[in-house]
Amino acid sequence: MKQSVTVVQDEKGNFGTMVKDFAIKLIPAMPKWNGKTLVRKVLIPLASIILFVGLWHVGAKALYNIEADYKIQKALTDQGQEAADQMAACIASGDVSCQPNTLPSPAQVWTSFNTLIADHKAISADKAEFKAKTAALNATREAEGKAPIVYTGRPSFVDQIFTSLKTVFAGFLLALIIAVPVGVIIGLSTTLRNSFNWLIQIFKPVSPVVWLLLVFMIVKTMTKDSDSDSAFIISFISVGLCAMWATLVNTAMGVATVDKDYINVAKVLKLGPIQKVFKVILPSSLPLIFTGLRITLSVAWMVLIAIELLAQSPGLGSFVWEEFQNGAIDSNSKIIVAMFVIGIIGFLLDRIMLTIQNMVSFNKNATA
């Protein structure tokens, strides 16, 4: 009897140290690992996640009940007691045809997530099979100078994530290429700054939707004779134009407010104008430029969803819109899955930018 008790205690102790070791491995930068940091860094965030999911569950349940009661009540007033009983039974049985359409619960969202992953696997397999099947045919077609046969099936959720990322990076690069040089030039000259200020101030607050329409007007005409993917071109240009203002304003401000001491150094060393820009002005405004770029990237990601939705360009935005139009039983939970994916990717993009910013700038203490 005594022995067994000690064994249990031993096991408990071992399990505790195992958890501790594992946690230390997870977060290697932690200098000291004690109970206090465990509570602060792991348990409290974990508790907040559980609380969030719990509240969500309770809230979804309440909304579900309201919707269900309304349905039964409606059946009662419209068709009488019998129809109402039927409706109540139907809802209780979980039949697809009469489910209340409302905020999905966490469990439903998790199921939809798994469905989407399974769907992606199925589509990938299908694609691979198609590729294998058409490989020989495509080789002969290529030899004859004809265009190869491509897979035209529907894209999976994961494919759409990558399409969105591609669009956002293209838009971000466009913003970078336009905004940084223009910002530097505007920042260097007070005259230019004054003369372009109106343009920046007027176009900065314009909604992404309007930018999309403007770009559409231009690109539609320009790509009339080519068979290029105009939806992609329209959406990435619109994203770039919407998002570039933060970088433009920040770059101009950074360049215009370079510490006077550094300018004096450049003058005393007699640096040429180009060297002055590249060796003194740009490095010293880099922290502000990067702050602008970070805002640009997060704005780009945010407007991308709206623009894809409108431009009918494939991606997460159109996924959300199609699911909403679709109105299937799990459409709502798929939309919530997309919401989390969008949020997490946005967060990761911001972290990546922050890391790059800390790597390239002398101002090492930039924080979120």
Binding site: K267, L269, K270, V280
Partner: protein, 279 residues
């Protein structure tokens, strides 16, 4: 012909009703190889004077002549050590000096430039810190980098704008000695701007007080006839030192009094009688 000459130089900031004349009627001549100190209160226009001499500013009226030629722009012949170090924070110590050397000797080979950078960093005893950024250095070390940067360009004249103003007393003393040691090697012309009379007497051949602005102008000059190298502890017992120091301080304090009494506004004080807690 004087090496550096300021003729009736005036400097006005602003225009019209807002115009303030910071410096007026500055006349100064510095001979080659001289070490001149200008002492003045903070806000008396010392930095403006320095910027006029190094070419960052142009005088409103009058002339600044360097070797007989008017100063129109900055020049590698006049090295500047700034008050707040002005090191570029994104470059290391070596890179900061390298940038200056490369500009001053555009025809030199990479090897020569690197050798020169190392030489001057070593001269200010910072070789171990050559790959560190200014942020990682103490104030004294930063100012030494600034000194190395100015001297590595091999200027004919060194202009120091309160180079030691932001340092603590001990570091200050050390750096004074280091600057003097470097200066005594080839006796370049030097102009030191400072707010510390003792520092001026210890380092310079000649001290000129700057009457505080607006309308700052140079006062009578004081020659320091103390043999070099000077010893700081012995200096305290040196009669010449005491006499000059007292004369300069008296002059500067006199200006201070004058400035105070120059204000004509009389403030009316309220009539108050202290309350007695005894009765």
């Amino acid at each position: 012909m004087a090496y550096l000459e300021l003729k009736n130089v005036s400097m006005t900031y602003g225009r019209g009703a807002n115009a303030t004349e910071v410096l007026s009627n500055i006349n100064l001549t510095i001979e080659e190889g001289e070490f001149v100190a200008i002492v003045g209160f903070t806000g008396s226009g010392k930095t403006t004077l320095v910027n006029l001499i190094n070419g960052l500013l142009k005088p409103t009226s009058g002339e600044v002549l360097f070797k007989g030629e008017p100063v129109v722009d900055t020049s590698h012949e006049r090295g500047v050590i700034f008050q707040n170090y002005s090191l570029l924070p994104w470059l290391t110590v070596g890179q900061n000096v390298h940038m200056a050397v490369k500009e001053a000797f555009p025809k030199a080979s990479k090897k020569e430039i690197n050798a020169r950078v190392e030489e001057y960093v070593a001269m200010v005893n910072l070789s171990p810190a050559i790959n560190k950024r200014p942020k990682e250095l103490s104030g004294g070390m930063r100012q030494r980098v600034s000194v190395a940067r100015a001297l590595a360009m091999n200027p004919e004249m060194i202009i120091m704008d309160e180079p030691l103003g932001a340092l603590d007393a001990l570091t200050r003393g050390n750096l004074q000695d280091e600057i003097l040691k470097i200066w005594s090697k080839d006796k370049r012309t030097a102009l030191l701007i400072t707010n510390d009379v003792d520092e001026g007497i210890y380092m310079a051949d000649r001290i000129i007080p700057l009457k505080p602005g607006p309308n700052a102008t140079l006062g009578p000059e004081f020659n320091i006839n103390i043999e070099r190298p000077r010893d700081k502890t012995e200096l305290n017992d040196n009669l010449e030192y005491k006499k000059t120091r007292n004369a300069i301080i008296e002059y500067l304090m006199g200006i201070g009094e004058e400035r105070k009494s120059a204000s004509k506004k009389v403030y009316e004080l309220p009539e108050l009688t202290p309350k007695s807690f005894v009765a």
